[in-house]
Symmetry: C2
Subunit: 437 residues, 2 copies
Amino acid sequence: MKPIHVGLLGIGTVGGGTFTVLERNCEEISRRAGRAIAITVVADKDLTRANSIVNGRAKVIDDALAVVNDPNVDIVVELIGGTGIAKELMLKAIANGKHVVTANKALLAKHGNEIFAAAQKKGVMVAFEAAVAGGVPIIKSLREGLAANRIEWIAGIINGTSNFILSEMREKGASFDDVLKQAQQLGYAEADPTFDIEGIDAAHKLTIMAAIGFGIPMQFEAAYTEGISKLTREDIQYAEELGYRIKLLGIAKRKANGIELRVHPTLIPTKRLIANVEGVMNAILVKGDAVGQTMFYGAGAGAEPTASAVVADLIDVARTMTVDPEHRVPHLAFQPDKLSDIAILPMGEVETSYYLRLRVQDKPGVLADITRVLADLGISIDAMVQKEPSEGEALVNIIMLTHRTIEKNVNAAISKIEALPVVASKVTRIRLEELDK
Amino acid sequence: MKPIHVGLLGIGTVGGGTFTVLERNCEEISRRAGRAIAITVVADKDLTRANSIVNGRAKVIDDALAVVNDPNVDIVVELIGGTGIAKELMLKAIANGKHVVTANKALLAKHGNEIFAAAQKKGVMVAFEAAVAGGVPIIKSLREGLAANRIEWIAGIINGTSNFILSEMREKGASFDDVLKQAQQLGYAEADPTFDIEGIDAAHKLTIMAAIGFGIPMQFEAAYTEGISKLTREDIQYAEELGYRIKLLGIAKRKANGIELRVHPTLIPTKRLIANVEGVMNAILVKGDAVGQTMFYGAGAGAEPTASAVVADLIDVARTMTVDPEHRVPHLAFQPDKLSDIAILPMGEVETSYYLRLRVQDKPGVLADITRVLADLGISIDAMVQKEPSEGEALVNIIMLTHRTIEKNVNAAISKIEALPVVASKVTRIRLEELDK
């Protein structure tokens, strides 16, 4: 069969990995795909870097638009990132009738609806396995492998940087700031780590998974996003003592009245497999009505793991590019005219359990006041621990785990509790999920 | 698009689950597949059972051959099992130009080469996601999701019955026989449990995974198969004390001189995620050169989890049945003319580490004799523990963990050790894998 010509936009970490993997495994890949797949042209602003990787084995230029307009390019791989020029180039590639493979979660989460509509109109594919959890084939699994199921919920550790920081804080009893610095030195966190530590990157990925899991449009703006930067080692330690581990989870859940779409630190029972996913690794739990719970685990970032997903997409696209579009897997797993308009629930309507930590005066009646507030709002307590005050300390830590309740009730309770004169500071609230059904 | 008509052969546990899932999720499935997929005819010897499930919503007959010959059937789902009539029916369906979906691992592991050749010739698909690890989309992940990789090894807990027995033996300190009885009462083990507990079922599944991972023909006869029926709670306990958990693993590994293909009880470090997969659950680790280690976890058996895989295959087949066969994913992941003839290594050539337990007389010089035998055969010891004899006992247990070595050397060492006068009984040998790279 005719070899496939690929144009690569951006040869940074993932682009370099893609070039390397495609070349190293070219024989294995053509044994699978039944044809050769080769990068024939690379565009990058940094020609020196690009040439040092490509080393004469493909054309190197600095004009990405020329790649997108090149009639000899069958598939464009977009690894520039961001929502600016990458979007323009992708739309132009689509307009030119080219298939696109991308790892750009921010772009898809924010502008995926527009991009997929354009691709649909032109009958081309936009493949994005690499956009979520690096080399873990979670997009294919959700979109095809679990296609028999009504997906009930998805819960994932989908940001390696945050997971590394939380693992280190727990294992070494270190503070957030110290571990962040270490992560930056190791190259696990960017100089500006906001996207990773504030949950934005995870929310991009969650938005994509929710869309293909439930058959809804991309709705990044409706996702609730809370990061890990305010977590203390104290809470991580207390959680551990109670049999829970704190992870930054992206959770998408189908409820009768809408879809929950939320990223936040979450206590999960230590005995769950996913609680033991440590360091920069990613893992996604998917609950389907037929299959039950499944989990997909692997490296969520890095040059070659992400390249693994990019190249898998290239093989898929190579295989189906000459196929009638109606026989391809739809971009969002469901036929474009069959997406659901079920609403994303506001965070106040979300139902979960809570870890609450209160600093209170060590006086009789304090607990009675607090539990009265909770009871009045219909919040029942699953477990409670009082930490003895240190020598000379007047304040004690009380930790409460609640049963499942609606978030707005918990917020109301927290306001009332914080107004009590015996309560000395802000209540620490971390959500808790048993992930048991 | 034209609805897809499915003929179902066998409506037992998985067949019933398939009927139920396809019906319950028909709307979700047609939103995905872009067309309706419906079971229109069911064949089962037990018409009463079949009718009670189908309840008038499809034709029920007792003649499987009539389904296979029915011109209105597009896809045949074979859930009869076994290698007798199932094989005949499948070949007949293929000869009639029908696509086939099956969960029959025994049939594929033993006769897959013949079946896939026949399917290839007729241009039809034989899909078999349900044959390995129930609802876990491991076939799709290996064949498509990780297609960019040179697969280095696969190691999986792929028999739920065995894993349940090992979990119970460890958690409750119970004997193999007692737990097996309990598993039979719970319906986790068959009246004749041989296939599960002797590793045969796992070897069927491993054979299939190795074929699609490495691009080799099915070679079930070359797989080494050792079950769990001789494991003692004592060894499970000793392993635990040393930081290891015993699992029945199916391991396929690519080496310079051939492929290792083996099922046996295996010590793995307790801190590995897969060591913590308990009960009837399945999990498969896949190591690819680009992606690193990935893991796929979920229910490996049961009506609906297995149905999840059967129905996913139906959707895949529905999507690609009108597509030119050369644009479909090849049965064994690699193009049929590109399979490799790399040999399966005999077990004596396999390289792994070992747990050895010896019962010896508690006398000076015993250890020197034993370690001399090991040293002479180039086997080095990673750790050694001597268990103090009980009051009045003359014999002590010595446990040794070796570094990686070739199995035939260990076998030679064991023969020599057993011949030593101070060694009181057969040496217990359990293989050990660190699974760390």
